[in-house]
């Protein structure tokens, strides 16, 4: 069984590397570095504004630690056919899940440690916690996460109910209580509590799992959902086969199509516009990025950072629209339509320019809100328009030509 796990893991990792390599292409790395830099700059500026211990400090630390403890779950790597082919091996799956749990611990540990580290200056300044306390809290959350993953394995065996409440809810409630006690009283409380929980989980693991029954359907469904979430995330950056995005009718948005006259040169505009509005993936991407941008612009009062955010996000939306064109071009029927290639590109450019234009208008309102009507706000808005023109009329048409 451990052999099966190792083989699955190898294949899984190979898959992940393949996608990660595609995601971290030059454009993305550049955008990523700028974004990290901007966030870091904002964070350090923000820290400078805190000069005394704050009432909100401790609650924020508690909430952040609690949230980060939710990240990551057991990657079982179960597959659909397992419930047919490996049904007879059910008893041996205990080892398999233990291996899966151990592997799944790594990423959360790194994440929690990183967040703990990044949070430390804030926790020190705003919450008045000592360095030792912060280290103890981070360590406590890490140990607690180990315990949580163990309980998740019990869930696979149907042992996820305790006195009418799911084990997950119990564990989260206990975590909140421990975090509050640890932050306000003594940071060792969390670590001790976490060690006790982990001790119980480990010592009784075999017994609990043995008394339950493997919930194949649930476990496989859960793993599929987990995989789907990961792939959908990858799908934002690159094409992932097997990720079919949801289609919604959105009849109330039909008014948007009224302006598209039904004539041959608009064939693809007709198609692209409807696809964009109805395919959750693309409208979702546009919506998320536009909202994040608007919120950032409303909060940041540094001229240069706002300038970067304005330009970067318009570029990002334009850049991320490219796969949509590619996806549509893979449809065989469109290739035999008696429509010119150049019309396809022209129509897609119309769509992308319109989408970016809407984003630009929204961001302009956010900028005017923050900087009011000033030279600075005008410069930022003009810079956004510049990026829009560049992406809409130069970048996208050139990139699309490469796709054919």
């Amino acid at each position: 069984m451990t052999k099966l796990w190792k083989e699955r893991l190898r294949r899984h990792q190979l898959d992940q590397f393949k996608y990660l390599r595609l995601i971290f292409n030059d454009n993305f790395v550049l955008a990523f570095i700028v974004l990290i830099g901007a966030l870091g700059f904002w964070y350090s500026n923000f820290l400078d504004t805190i000069n005394q211990v704050n009432v909100f400090g401790k609650p924020v630390v508690i909430i952040l630690f609690w949230l980060i403890a939710q990240s990551g779950s057991v990657a079982t790597l179960l597959e659909e056919p397992d419930s047919t082919f490996l049904l007879v091996k059910e008893k041996d799956f205990y080892e398999y899940f233990q291996a899966a749990k151990n592997y799944s611990s790594m990423l959360p540990v790194v994440t929690i440690a990183l967040v703990g580290f990044l949070m430390s200056p804030f926790a020190f300044k705003a919450a008045g916690l000592s360095v030792l306390s912060i280290v103890m809290l981070t360590l406590g959350v890490v140990v607690y996460k180990f315990g949580m993953l163990n309980f998740e394995v019990f869930g696979i065996y149907g042992k996820d109910n305790f006195k009418g409440l799911s084990a997950k809810n119990w564990i989260n409630l206990i975590l909140i209580a421990l975090l509050i006690l640890a932050v306000y009283l003594n940071s060792f409380i969390l670590l001790i509590g976490a060690i006790v929980l982990l001790g119980i989980a480990i010592s009784r693991s075999k017994q609990i799992c043995g008394s339950g029954q493997l919930q194949w359907q649930n476990a496989i469904a859960k793993e599929n959902q987990r995989m789907f979430r990961i792939k959908r995330f990858y799908n934002l950056f690159t094409d992932v086969p097997g990720v079919n995005s949801k289609i919604r009718r959105r009849k109330w948005l039909d008014f948007l199509f009224k302006g598209i006259k039904q004539e041959q040169s608009n064939t693809y505009l007709y198609l692209f516009a409807r696809g964009f509005v109805r395919n959750n993936e693309y409208i979702g991407l546009f919506f998320r990025l536009t909202v994040i941008q608007a919120i950032m612009l409303c909060l940041i009062d540094n001229f240069y950072i706002s300038l970067i955010v304005e330009m970067l996000f318009i570029y990002l939306v334009g850049f991320q629209l490219k796969p949509y064109f590619k996806e549509t071009m893979q449809n065989l029927m469109q290739r035999i339509y008696p429509v010119k290639q150049t019309d396809k590109i022209k129509d897609f450019t119309k769509l992308s320019t319109f989408v970016l234009f809407v984003q630009w208008i929204i961001s302009a309102f956010a900028i005017l809100y923050k900087f009011s009507f000033s030279m600075n706000s005008l410069i930022i808005i003009a810079a956004g328009l510049l990026v829009l023109v560049f992406v809409g009329y130069f970048y996208i048409p050139r990139q699309l030509k490469k796709i054919f």
């Binding site: 004539e263 696809g275 035999i336 339509y337 008696p338 010119k340």
Partner: protein
């Protein structure tokens, strides 16, 4: 409308599936393209509709090749693929609108035709459905409607008889007959020999990417020396020639 294939050679990548394939489809003819799996039927069709580029030889529709005028060439053809290909984001009604736009057809006249076809295939009450709600057979019917409402002169249908219910097969054959009366040509590839035997004027037997024989059923009987045989028998005899 005539379709001419002259010594067509081609395939995917470096492998030549088709080797000097030659045949013609005349005005108002219904032609059955017949062969084993892998004989080159779909490859031939993909070359004709221009999804693959020939490595040698020529394909002419009314003397016009794809290179001469891409748009004109494509307007002459309507194609129904073996596996239905629809846009998941468009409703049935919008598929018809899109086809009208793509082929630059008259909106009202074509919609009248479309309504008739939709009614025939019992789809007229599903205009606002998305493809994901259609069964495979229904999707195929949508493809048929979109193809047959155009003003194309050559209709290419890849394996039309599997997946359709018997009633729809019958309706499709009626529509084919109607188009034939108007002087259009129809080329269909199929394995359902009994059906095609009764409804096609001419047959092209493909084997290993070459035309083994072509002609009417009587001509084929003569060529294979099987006076009492039907298309099935001839087909099996051809397959056995390899051994």
């Amino acid at each position: 409308m005539t379709l001419e294939l002259k010594e067509l050679t081609g395939g995917y990548g470096q492998v030549s599936v088709l080797k000097k394939e030659t045949f013609t489809v005349e005005d108002g003819q219904v032609v059955g393209l017949i062969g084993l799996n892998g004989a080159g039927k779909s490859t031939t069709i993909k070359h004709i509709i221009g999804l693959l580029t020939p490595r040698g030889g020529q394909i002419l529709i009314d003397g016009l090749s794809l290179q001469d005028n891409v748009e004109e060439y494509r307007k002459k053809i309507a194609y129904v693929p073996e596996m239905p290909i629809l846009y998941s984001e468009l409703t049935l009604k919008e598929h018809i609108d899109l086809t009208i736009m793509a082929y630059d057809l008259d909106h009202d006249k074509t919609w009248a035709k479309a309504h008739e076809l939709l009614k025939t295939f019992r789809l007229d009450n599903k205009l606002d459905w998305f493809p994901q709600n259609f069964s495979k057979g229904m999707k195929q019917k949508v493809m048929i409607v979109c193809a047959f409402m155009t003003d194309a002169r050559l209709f290419i249908i890849d394996e039309p008889f599997t997946g359709l219910d018997p009633l729809a097969v019958n309706d499709l054959l009626n529509i084919v007959e109607e188009k034939k009366q108007k002087g259009c040509s129809v080329l269909m590839s199929t394995h359902v020999l009994a059906t095609v035997q009764d409804h096609a004027d001419k047959f092209i037997l493909l084997n290993h990417g070459q035309v083994r024989a072509d002609g009417t059923l009587d001509e084929l009987k003569e060529k294979f020396d099987m006076q009492n045989g039907n298309l099935d028998d001839i087909y099996i005899k051809m397959s056995n020639e390899d051994q």
